[in-house]
Assembly symmetry: C2
Homo-oligomer: 344 residues x 2
């Protein structure tokens, strides 16, 4: 799988060369002369009431294995000198293709029983951004969000218009059935019987996947992808495709969020964390704590974020029982985490 | 017209009583005991290359008259003790119903020749927010964004799903022809012949309307409504329906933006201005200048914002030649402005 992804990256790389050009003017001066700058990546696969007693050993092992595969896919890109943007895509594609997460294949289903997918990506050096919402036939929504960023003059495309753009860009349309799994169909049925809307299985886990990476050029990128809420109606869009809410990156801060999207939009979570770090002069860790375990808790919002800064300092705060997460730090140390008592 | 709007407000008011209840815990302590707190409102009707020599006297008079009508409609609500949320809606509805502005009736047309409308609203005291994107049959999109905020558990609804919600909420669907004017159809034809995308007429004015108000309870609300870009394709969404980009309000800051939406999303304009004011401890005016005439200019983005804080200090910075704008300050002084050499 890693090999496939590296091939994917290599085949994507040259075609997107213009988009991957680094604006050196935007790279912090201290980094410009160091070809061996630290690289780092952090990913999440959703947050919520994930407790040890509810996760059997085989399932836990499956999550840790897939998180390791995803974070390694991204890290391999960074080690090879690839961009943070490409690393973010590589990591997220692994999770979109896995049925363990609420994104791509295995995404939750809306009221009509269909998958409706949202994604966004942002590159911090030049604040380039792309997002799609409400797409139903694109296998990897993060790749379409990226294409919006690199091959259109727009930032956000929605619904069938986004898919029209995808087809013109050579994306293959897949039937909506590709996304559907038995588990999600049963989950929808249970919730419909109770007439409830849920962000994830058993009303207690917020889906969404995301990645934030720092590349050898000192450029930060962040991306997020989701199927949203089970049994959602009315073309509901959460924070994942909203720049400043679910995803944000600038030249010293990148964030991807997972949680109760409505609150995350209202609190402008991703941008607020970066803004606090920049304007208050506090550390990224302090800013993340203030938002995730301060403001969001006050609002009654569950969830978490992952993030890093230009020094490669990684944060993964969450206020729920657990958050699927993994990282490779500047020393090359890999960690995976699910529960709240696991150190970072 | 003023009478009609006051009637509209009075008829809306009681039905939305639960939504208009002020959370006094969120009102700054200094304001709680003052029933005669200052009220203020500021509106915009778009920014761009609006120069004296290009605007004939009759057209200029029509804009000033309609801006006066809109800002007065909002101010009347505030004077009568209504909420900032109701004032914002009253002001924006006047501009949506006018064919002078790129919102509601008279909105620009997309590539297919249809109007596709976006709007959002936010109340600062409890960070409540609502937004719709890509709606085609709702006469006043700002009222639908408000209904999403007050009558759903969601923040953002898109496309036909948003209209399904509207119908369930008793909104009447209007044919898309209601929005179309001869001027916009000619404008689309000209751009299609040149294969261009424009944010507004003659490629030089950014449409969008917006309002920010401070009510007697010290609560700030902000709202924005737009038809987006002429000849737009692919379900393009700009900053207007994006909380943190086109619209943001908290307990001491409210912003509505107008300009090149893609840049405004990437710069998270509305939230960034409020964040600078809060975290850097600078005035709202300084924060607005830093973003509109600093960061946005560096990015090459044209446009402007309107805003106010809990003291009723009003800002209207823009970096384009002109911006349609009007305000009534805490002293009750009304002003309208179009060009850059008009004082505020």
């Amino acid at each position: 799988m890693r090999k496939i992804l590296l091939t994917l990256w290599l085949s994507l790389g040259p075609g997107l060369a213009s988009a991957t050009t680094v604006d050196t003017a935007a790279v912090p001066a201290a980094r410009k002369n160091f070809v061996n700058n630290p690289v780092a990546i952090v990913i999440h696969g959703g947050a919520g009431t994930i407790r040890r007693e509810k996760l059997d050993a085989a399932t836990e092992a499956a999550y840790r294995s897939k998180l390791t595969e995803a974070v390694t896919a991204g890290h391999d890109v960074l080690k090879a000198g690839g961009s943070s943007r490409e690393a973010v895509i590589a990591a997220i594609v692994v999770m979109e293709d896995s049925d363990l997460f609420n994104a791509g294949h295995g995404a939750v289903l809306n009221h009509e029983g269909d998958a409706e997918l949202d994604a966004s990506i942002m590159v911090g050096s030049d604040l380039a951004a792309g997002a799609v919402a409400g797409v139903r036939h694109i296998r990897n929504p993060i790749m379409l969000a990226d294409r919006v960023m690199t091959h259109s003059r727009h930032v956000m495309l929605i619904g069938s218009g986004a898919e029209e753009f995808a087809v013109e860009q050579g994306f293959e349309k897949v039937p909506n059935e590709y996304f559907k799994t038995e588990r999600r169909q049963e989950q929808l049925q249970r919730l419909k019987e109770k007439d409830q809307v849920s962000l994830s299985e058993a009303d207690d886990k917020f889906g969404t996947v995301g990645a934030v990476a720092l590349d050898i050029h000192g450029v930060i990128a962040a991306g997020t992808s989701t199927g949203g809420m089970t049994n959602k109606r009315y073309g509901r869009v959460g924070d994942s495709p909203i720049i400043a809410a679910g995803t944000y990156a600038d030249d010293n801060c990148g964030i991807s969020a997972t949680g109760h999207g409505e609150y995350f939009i209202r609190a402008a979570v991703a941008h607020d964390i970066c803004a606090r770090a920049r304007y208050q002069g506090v550390s990224l860790a302090e800013a993340g704590e203030a938002v995730v375990n301060g403001r969001l808790v006050e609002m009654g919002a569950d969830g978490g974020v992952i993030g890093l800064n230009a020094e490669g300092n990684i944060i993964m705060p969450f206020n729920s029982a657990g958050m699927y997460r993994a990282s490779v730090d500047p020393d090359g140390k890999l960690m995976t985490g699910i529960f709240s008592d696991e150190g970072e």
